[in-house]
């Protein structure tokens, strides 16, 4: 290898802070959370050390053992041994261990040391260890392990300074450790001996976790707390966001008026900007506050260590329907977006449990459905208080979320009954200690979500909206036409064609048109509706108020039917693409898309016909 560059691999048990450390080292922005299994594939970054050497850093998935039982662990083992295709053997392995949890993590350190590669041990979360009163004799630990040991606090700025200095001064050719063939029992005995000699533990380190767990995991209060927490989140999404949403709506409308004011009324450019760009953007942008509030809650819950507790509480129920408690975290992430949710299923070791989770993840109400739900709820459900404290609109939203959850469980149950393999599959899930969420990490997570959303709005959604404007503007109406111009356009004709298929579930041709670009991404449908109605109306300014227009033109049955459609329909290319990537099978994509569209049509048909019969 060249003297000016060096390859470093970060390894360690799940949830020991490898990714936070990676971010500290490289200035990267990987996602950090407080549950096992966040890093699901190798990530690479580089930085220049004070000595001028370029250090290439690999962030590997967490492993409990090198005796790999999951795909993640196999990657980690293979990279360490230089067996991973296309990956050179790392010059130095930085083994990261949670200082508050050395009993478990040291065993892995010993396993890594036996590989005979140069190793540095990073004792991470030293701040938490000190807070808990743990005293670690670092010099003695280093002597007994025979590897350099440095202290780090990965979640704090500058917390990896000692590690960088150490790596920088390491001559990357430490003589290999003697390889011994100790069994698991001996490894544990060795760990116990090392711990006894180097760590002083006060007896009450776990008192806080115990005190919180007593309530949070209580059979009655625990479930109560979980239910209240979830309900509060959805109420907050609706009520906190409202003032900001009003401001955004007014802002976009004002901007649109200002910009288009300079253009001649009735020109094609005026129409494109007003009906295409501003009507489309405004309709979607307005949902940013709600999406961010939802993500805020998920990020805080993730960081605090609460999520695995929720998984614990729900495991039995999820197991009965054919899932696993581990599926709770991917499924909860799917409330934000099914794509990270499906990727997070990699932390489910069991391939069978994992596939089931992937197939039902798109049923979780992702944030892209929020624009559609909010639009319809605001237009059709009266904003009034129920029992003094709750808001009827909030309750309807909660019901829609619940419908997604319930159908996911039902589908998982059907999959469980259909499959032939009935063997036992394990839970074995680690519950981390509670910790206070780090403001910086949460803010960073929110910032990233906002950027991703804005990029989607600015990219795909804008492009599709403009395309739709063209389709609904051309060809123009013939001389002496009486109906709105859109009726003669390509989009209008396409919509009327689709109406034959969707009439039984109550969709008019405007909805049908909006669903076509909406196949690419759910929230596009709202922008598309904005464009379609702006194009078919005579009043240009009404684009900003899509809600009142549809409230006037649609029946309640149509609105409810569209809501039901959105609970199920897999209108998201990215989700289908990620299913294909994660399962490496087009068959699974076809199964997912097929059953979801089937459920969507059936659900909407029932909703529409029943609602019509009742009204």
């Amino acid at each position: 290898m060249s003297a000016s560059s060096m390859r470093i691999a970060l390894v360690g048990n799940p949830n020991c802070g490898k990714t936070a450390l990676f971010n500290q080292l490289t200035g990267g922005r990987q996602k950090v959370a407080n549950y096992a299994g966040v890093t699901v594939e190798r990530k690479e970054g580089r930085f220049v050390a004070p000595s001028g050497r370029t250090l290439q850093v690999l962030d590997l998935p967490g492993a409990y053992s090198l005796d790999a039982t999951s795909p993640d662990e196999a990657i980690t083992r293979d990279v360490c041994l230089g067996r991973y295709p296309g990956e050179a053997v790392p010059d130095l392995i930085v083994c990261v261990a949670d200082a508050t949890n050395l009993r478990l993590h040291l065993r892995f350190v010993l396993e890594v040391r036996r590989l005979g590669r140069p190793v540095v041990l990073a004792l991470n979360m030293m701040d938490a260890a000190r807070r808990r009163g743990l005293v670690i004799d670092v010099a003695e630990l280093s002597r007994r392990l025979g590897v350099p040991v440095v202290e780090t606090v990965a979640v704090r700025r500058g917390g990896a300074k000692a590690l960088v200095e150490r790596i920088d001064s390491v001559v990357p050719a430490i003589e290999p450790m003697p390889v011994d063939e100790a069994g698991v029992e001996q490894l544990h005995a060795e760990v116990r001996a090392i711990l006894a000699a180097t760590v002083t533990t006060p007896r009450n380190t776990v008192a806080l976790d115990d005190a919180i767990d007593r309530w949070v995991l209580h059979p009655v209060f625990g479930l109560g707390i979980l239910a209240v927490l979830m309900f509060m989140i959805f109420q907050a999404v609706f009520s906190w966001a409202q003032p900001v949403m009003d401001a955004i709506e007014a802002g976009v409308a004002a901007l649109g008026t200002t910009v288009t004011g300079f253009l001649p009324e009735g020109s094609a450019l005026h129409s494109l900007l007003n009906d295409g760009v501003f009507a489309g953007l405004g309709a979607v942008l307005v949902f940013l506050p709600q999406i961010l509030i939802l993500f805020l809650f998920i990020l805080v819950l993730e960081e605090s260590g609460y999520l695995p507790r929720a998984a614990f509480l729900l495991d039995k129920m999820m197991f009965r329907v054919g899932l696993t408690g581990r599926a709770f975290i991917p499924l909860l992430s799917s409330f934000a977006c099914a794509i990270p949710g499906i990727m997070a299923t990699r932390s489910i070791q069991d391939p069978r449990d994992r596939l089931t989770t992937i197939l039902v993840a798109p049923l979780m109400t992702c944030s892209a459905r929020l624009p559609v739900y909010t639009l319809l709820i605001a237009a059709f459900i009266p904003d009034r208080a129920v029992w003094g404290v709750f808001n009827l609109q909030g309750i309807v939203l909660f019901v829609l979320y619940f419908a997604g959850i319930f159908s996911a469980l039902a589908v998982a149950f059907v999959i469980k009954r259909l499959r032939k393999d009935k063997s036992e599959h394990a839970l074995l899930m680690e519950l981390p200690s509670y910790r206070l969420p780090n403001v910086r990490d949460v803010a960073l997570g929110l910032w990233e979500r906002a950027l991703i959303f804005l990029k989607r709005v600015g990219g795909i959604i804008l492009a599709l909206t403009v395309l739709l404007w063209f389709l609904s503007s051309f060809p123009g109406p013939p001389e002496g036409a009486t109906a709105p111009a859109i009726d003669y356009s390509i989009a209008g004709r396409l919509g009327r064609l689709l109406e034959y298929v969707f009439a039984p579930i109550g969709f008019n041709w405007q909805i049908c048109i909006a669903l076509v670009p909406g196949l690419a991404a759910r929230e596009v449908a709202v922008a598309a509706l904005g464009t379609v109605y702006a194009m078919s109306g005579s009043d240009d300014s009404m684009a900003a108020q899509l809600g009142p227009v549809i409230a006037h033109q649609w029946t309640l049955a149509t609105a409810l039917s569209l809501l039901a459609w959105y609970v199920f329909a897999p209108q998201c290319m990215s989700t289908l693409a990620v299913i294909r990537r994660e399962t490496n099978s087009w068959r699974n994509v076809a199964v997912a898309a097929g059953y979801l569209f089937g459920l969507a049509y059936l659900g909407s048909l029932l909703t529409y016909q029943i609602a019509r019969a009742l009204s």
Partner: protein, 81 residues
């Protein structure tokens, strides 16, 4: 006694982990996670439905184990052994 039968909150010590069947992956996993003879363990909590899963404190870590998994772990109560 089996870990799954241990009383809530009681300190216990692992005696052995037995394979439920030949090449038992789950038993191997339990050993990897530190369930080996001599390790002190404590049952912290039981799940809300049918007392399943179990929350086991071992070392300074907590693991959620389903009852079937915990059945593989034989323990003795501290002081009684």
């Amino acid at each position: 006694m089996r870990l799954s039968d241990a009383p809530k909150g009681a300190q216990a010590v692992v005696q052995s982990v037995s394979d439920a069947h030949p090449a038992d992956q789950i038993a191997q996993r339990l050993r990897d996670l530190g369930f080996v003879a001599g390790e002190p363990v404590r049952l912290v909590a039981r799940g809300p439905l049918g007392g399943d899963p179990l929350l086991i404190h071992i070392g300074s870590t907590r693991f959620a184990l389903r009852r079937n998994e915990a059945d593989r772990v034989e323990v003795s109560l501290e002081g009684a052994a």
